[in-house]
Amino acid sequence: MPDTLLEVKGLRTHFFTRRGVVKAVDGVSFSLRAGETLGIVGESGSGKSITALSLVRLVPQPAARIVGGQVLLEGEDLLRKSEADMRRIRGAKIAMILQDPLTSLNPVLSIGSQVTEAITLHQGLRGRSLWERAVDILRKLKIPSPEQRMSNFPHQMSGGMRQRVVGAIAISCEPRLLIADEPTTSLDVTVQAQYLRLLKEIQAESGLAILFITHDFGVVAKMCDRVAVMYAGRIVEMAGVRDLFTTPAHPYTEALMRSVPKLEEQVDRLYSIEGQPPAPDRLPLGCPFAPRCPYVMDRCRQEYPPEVTISRGHTASCWRHH
């Protein structure tokens, strides 16, 4: 694909602890085109956030180390860059929005100084033009009276407004890739709807690629073009968003979807997946979903199923499809 922006191949990030090696991300591959939104869905401990942090090499060191794979951004492997080069890439080419705007903003710095920081660093603007640029970006995020907001502090704003400021900082240097890790989880329902719509508008305008990390299939249905489902450090299914919702191929995806209540209809009893996700430091042999899988076979407990193609652009790792 000529217009592939990001290609991740066999990414492996492990945690080295006293109790042994935890394979938080264990062979994750995907690609992302400009203007496209890829969702990574998974539960806590599935490795979705560590995957995101690995792309910008911000995994918690020294416990975690990226032990293998490639992260190709416009053909260049980020895992081989020097730390100085990475600093020029973060914020400029790849930006991030994290879950909680209260902790991702500095409480003692004004909004203005936080929005201008990255622009000064990456684009060298100063003085009047810098200030105007920052106000423009706040306006783009539809923050009311942006000139006044520049001198405000985070605690003077509501959660939704704070998250818009975080969004403004993220897009201030016109990145090619935006990593959004649960950006609306802490927001109210109607504010979440505003924010998601805003992200889509900005994407349509700028051709930004978005990697959307979430646990919520509703966000996926609303925002994503393609989806990767993660379980225990691996992608177990990848598909276009319609294919995934209409014909989920992996038993985990299927079970998850059935266990989410729907607004449109009342059911007598929700389907529920028994058991818990496996502890990442004690993964079972074979397929990690096997202990909870309704279709489990002998083979599942012995060998991890390789990926199979279900249809064009739709892959899953399950022995049932072999």
Binding site: E43, S44, S158, G159, G160, M161, D188, V189, T190, V191, Q192, A193, Q194, R197, H215, D216, F217, G218, V219, A221, K222, V241, R242, F245, T246, A255, L256, S259, V260, P261, K262, L263, E264, Q266, V267, R269, L270, Y271, S272, I273, E274, Q276, P277
Partner: protein
């Protein structure tokens, strides 16, 4: 399913909770009041789930805290089994406290990390009942089994459990005194997606077995629909619409309810709803808008909305709306 007639288990009449804002010299003078709950009435029948929905700051959690006697009300009455709880003393008060229990959102912070599960679940029994050691551990084992845990897990500490199991421990503690009403404050939103259905099903099963009433506070509308018999929508300290669950989703009437439902995320990419995007955010409860409190964000607000505060009026059986349109 609950019956519409009969004495409600809990009845809340015109409940108000205002928090003073102090100012002036040394902060001794009350300069304003945050009207967190401002005239809310509802009732809960035995065996019924009533859900309070609304965005942060609407007063739903404050309402539940007043019911749990964690905050004294500013005005209004709460009747439990027909009795005014503000007049309860001694044994009557103890009976109320034992009959009304709570399960909170975050099972990481609601369980004491230094106490064993048996101690956590048994504590309400130690406080309220005179039991021998044998009776106590028997009852603890019984409730642990009811919530799907094993009796021998009573000797473990909370950190040895996953999120879903911890929420089961919190439910077991709430159940230990055979309560009539449990306040569920966002009971599944801190849990993993694959665990939520387990806990919701458990709560529904326990409701049937013990004829429990639930007052649930939640923002995820699809879960609210699955769990509730009736729903009350709150905005800035007031109820704007109440209806039974089916009716509310079939025929939402208040513009705020419509916007909330339209903002809920779709369950399939082909099922996108027509979005009603509300402008701005919820105004401060320190200084709510005059007349209808929703008018500043309402897509169909008219001149008259600023003048009078619309009362909650019945529009069809079991369905009440506070809006001048009806």
């Amino acid at each position: 399913m609950a019956t519409a007639s009969g004495v409600p288990l809990l009845e809340v009449r015109d409940l108000r909770k205002h928090f003073p804002v102090m100012g002036g010299f040394l902060g001794r003078r009350m300069v304003a009041a945050v009207k967190a709950v401002d005239g809310v009435s509802f009732s809960i029948q035995p065996g019924e789930t009533l859900s309070l929905v609304g965005e942060s700051g609407c007063g739903k959690t404050t309402t539940s805290r007043v019911i749990l006697l964690l905050e004294p009300p500013t005005a209004g009455t709460i009747l439990f089994e027909g009795q005014d709880i503000s007049r309860l003393k001694g044994e009557g008060l103890q009976h109320y406290r034992a009959s009304v229990q709570a399960v909170f959102q975050d099972p990481w912070s609601s369980l004491n990390p230094r106490q064993r599960v048996g101690g956590i679940v048994g504590e309400p029994l130690v406080v309220n009942r005179q039991l021998t050691r044998g009776q106590l551990s028997e009852r603890v084992a019984e409730v642990l089994t009811q919530v799907g845990l094993r009796p021998e897990q009573a000797s473990l500490f909370p950190h040895e459990f996953s999120g879903g199991q911890r929420q089961r421990i919190a439910i077991a503690r709430a159940l230990s005194l055979n309560p009539r009403l449990i306040v569920l404050d966002e009971p599944v939103s801190a849990l993993d997606v694959s665990i939520r259905a387990q806990i919701m099903n458990l709560l529904r099963d326990l409701q049937k077995q013990h004829h429990l009433s639930y007052l649930m506070i939640a923002h995820h509308l699809a879960s609210v629909r699955y769990m509730s018999h009736r729903i009350a929508v709150m905005y800035l300290g007031k109820l704007v619409e109440t209806a039974d669950s089916e009716t509310l989703f079939r025929n939402p009437q208040h513009p705020y309810t419509k916007a909330l439902i339209s903002a809920a995320l779709p369950s399939h990419p082909d099922r996108q709803r027509e979005e009603i995007i509300l402008p701005g955010e919820v105004p401060s409860p320190l200084n709510p808008p005059s007349g209808c409190r929703f008018r500043t964000r309402c897509p169909v607000a008219r001149g008259e909305c600023a003048g009078v505060e619309p009362p909650l009026k019945g529009t069809e059986p079991g369905h009440k709306v506070a809006c001048v349109l009806y």
